[in-house]
């Protein structure tokens, strides 16, 4: 395997959790809900995934547990923000704090234990192709899932009836309600989808990226995923591009650290966070771009009037 292949492979592994978490949040925000709890759902996915895989020995059971962990947290969020109409920003923060605490509590018995790594795909002959074999046919399965989800969401939002309903609910919940759509049910479904992909993103960290449990192992990736959604101006294609760009920045920092250029490691570690701020500035400066796709009722609670 040549050096450039290795670099691209690591960039993809660094980008995939960001893409997974962000694509779910994109759907959630398109339905008019701002879920700031991604970090909490992700870290719960990571610990549930690790625990299930470690206990059962099966990485795939870990993946399922990760998804369920994320969904469980997201349903708590949905219960509060949709049924009890709480403030979405504060509730998202609560989910993050609760997730970080609970995951630490659950994970305290798993620190330092060996994990189970999800095996890479291997197709006879195809994977051995020179140059492209490893990159196209030899990734771990969740990379393909993330790409499939992105394509599916892009197509689904634009070309299906379901996508239209989600966008309608996000643009104007009162109108969607008047048309007879069940606004709250649609939002519940979207939030659960977001929880599933965030949980999967967390599971990716503890089952593929570094197959072990480390406290707070999400390291702010949930927040970066949130920023990516804003950066993408709510478009799945741009979201994928953004996710790979950020994965690239993340890996660039690690490589520069490994090469020992005399740059403080803390400066390199802060690159993704600095890049996030810069990306937000760039996208916000372009008002036309950022406003045109913003779901009009983003972050507002909906109470059907009777």
């Amino acid at each position: 395997m040549s050096a450039y292949e290795a670099i691209i492979l690591t960039i993809i592994t660094a980008s995939t959790p960001l893409l997974l978490a962000a694509i779910g949040e994109l759907v959630v925000e398109r339905s008019g809900v701002l879920n700031l709890g991604i970090e909490g759902m992700m870290v719960m996915g990571a610990v549930c995934g690790f625990a299930a895989a470690h206990v059962s020995g099966s990485a795939w059971l870990g993946v399922i547990a990760a998804v369920m962990g994320g969904v469980a947290m997201s349903l708590l969020f949905a219960l509060l923000t949709q049924t009890l109409i709480t403030n979405q920003v504060a509730t998202g923060l609560a989910i993050t704090m609760l997730g970080l605490g609970l995951s630490g509590l659950i994970g305290s018995d798993f620190v330092g234990l060996p994990g189970v790594k999800l095996a890479n795909v291997s197709i006879p002959w195809l994977t051995e192709l020179p140059y492209v074999g490893r990159l196209v046919f030899g990734q771990d399965p969740l990379v393909y899932v993330s790409i499939g989800l992105t394509v599916g969401v892009a197509y689904g939002l634009k070309h299906t009836r379901w996508g239209l309903i989600i966008r309608a609910v996000g643009q104007s919940h009162s109108s969607a309600h008047a048309l007879g759509y069940r606004v709250i049910a649609v939002r519940y479904a979207c939030i659960a989808f977001g929880g599933a992909t965030s949980g999967l993103a967390g599971g990716y960290l503890s089952l593929v990226y570094t197959p072990q449990w480390i406290e707070n192992m999400t390291a702010g990736r949930g927040w970066i995923a949130l920023a990516l959604v804003v950066f993408s101006t709510w478009l799945p294609g741009r979201l994928a591009a953004g996710a790979y760009l950020f994965g690239g920045v993340w890996i660039l920092g690690l490589y520069a650290q490994a090469m020992g250029l005399g740059i403080p490691s803390q400066l390199l570690s802060s690159l993704p966070y600095v890049a996030t701020i810069l990306a937000l500035v760039v996208i916000s400066t372009n008002r036309r771009l950022s406003v045109i796709n913003t779901p009009a009722s983003l972050g507002q609670g909906f109470v059907p009037d009777r």
Binding site: L36, L76, L80, T83, L84, I85, T86, N87, V89, A90, T91, L93, A94, I95, M97, L98, G99, L100, G101, L102, G104, L105, S108, H177, A178, G180, R182, G220, W223, L226, A227, V230, P264, Q266, L267, S269, S270, Y273, V274, T276, I277, L280, V281, S284, T285, R287, S290, V303, P304, R306
Partner: protein, 362 residues
């Protein structure tokens, strides 16, 4: 039967007071259940958690020491949230304030005078405020969401602190530990009691009282409330949204920075990689639990400080992970938001026929 929420014609002031009580009760009950599932005696654990810290003078002092920064940051955030400005990066501003204030003992170690301490306190507040100006500027100049930027800056500030104490500001005689020189003399806050209570607690209480007065009797307090609850009405009254963002970040950032300096010049006494057990984030819960009211924040700060000490207690006595503290804090915010629904809405039970007509979109 179906349960629906019905909007009250007027916010219930009774529920505004009862909601934290309900939330705390629910947290205690859930906490007991969690202890029980972990196979620990729930009542003993709860006693160690919430009562035991208040049974000896020594641990009451510890509670007060922990409550200081929580109150100081919490009152600033309460004003922010009231004005609908979402500064959630107080943890970063705390770190920035500690770094800025620590310039005096580290760079001017020989300058021993009461003024050195005054300058340190001012620099701490200034550092926090300046760090908070970054999200404020990005918000007002470019319209960048302040939630994400203030949070990203937390990571950046912590990495900066980490670099400083491992690099330029490492104590040359410190056996290569990642720590700065130990602060001495007038670079430390006056202490009393068993040597843990310090001037910072007085500062926190005074700030809370001043802000309480300001929010109640001053035009600025009125402005905060109007801009927060009805931005359009605020605009017609000539209150500037932009100025409000700057004001809120200056206030909350400055107080967080001051809290950071007080931590390093008080209980810690030097710079080290970790200077706060997430005070900046816990203060968010403190602000909400305290009803975004500075006096309420004082009580909420004390309660959450108890949870820190209680968490250490159960870890020592029953071998329960200290992560339970974070779980309790998360649950508390969760339940308080849930119970706050009852301030604006009342729960109604609808029987069969009513439910059918009410449930359908009209």
């Amino acid at each position: 039967m179906q349960i629906v929420l019905e909007k009250r014609s007027q916010a219930s002031s009774w529920m505004n007071v009862m909601s934290p009580v309900l939330a705390i009760s629910l947290t205690v009950i859930m906490g007991g259940l969690i202890f029980a599932t972990m196979g620990k005696p729930p009542l003993t654990a709860l006693y160690l958690y919430f009562i035991d810290p208040l049974t000896s003078w020594w641990s009451i002092e510890e509670v007060l020491v922990k409550a200081g920064p929580l109150v100081l940051i919490g009152v600033g955030l309460a004003v922010c949230f009231k004005a609908n400005v979402w500064n959630i990066g107080a943890e970063g501003q705390l770190t920035a304030g500690a770094l800025m204030g620590a310039m005096v003992p580290i760079l001017l170690g020989d300058w021993q005078s009461p003024w050195a301490l005054v300058v340190m306190l001012l620099l701490g507040a200034l550092g926090g405020a300046m760090f908070a100006f970054i999200p404020a500027w990005l918000k007002t100049r470019f319209g960048v969401n302040e939630i994400l930027t203030s949070l990203m800056l937390v990571y950046i500030a912590q990495l900066l602190l980490d670099w400083m104490v491992r690099g330029p500001w490492k104590d040359p005689h410190g056996y290569n530990f990642p720590k700065s020189v130990a602060f001495e003399g007038w670079h430390l806050l006056p202490m009393w009691g068993d040597g843990r209570m310090h001037l910072g607690l007085v500062i926190a209480l005074v700030v809370a009282l001043v802000l309480y007065w300001l929010m109640r009797n001053n035009l600025k307090g009125f402005e905060v409330r109007v801009v927060g609850s009805a931005p359009r009405a605020g605009a017609f009254a000539g209150f500037s949204q932009t100025k409000m963002v700057w004001f809120c970040f200056a206030l909350s950032g400055g107080l967080a920075g001051l809290a950071g300096l007080i931590e390093v010049a008080g209980p810690i006494g030097q710079l080290q990689p970790h200077i706060s057990p997430s005070y900046g984030f816990t203060a968010i819960i403190v602000a909400f639990l305290g009803r975004l009211n500075p006096l309420g924040v004082v009580f909420a700060g004390l309660l959450l400080a108890v949870s820190y000490i209680g968490g250490e207690g159960v870890q020592i006595e029953l071998g329960i992970s200290d992560k339970t503290t974070q779980v309790f804090q998360g649950m508390l915010l969760f339940f308080i938001l849930m119970c706050d629904t009852l301030i604006l809405y009342r729960v109604r039970y609808l029987s069969g026929t009513q439910a059918n007509t009410a449930g359908e979109p009209s």
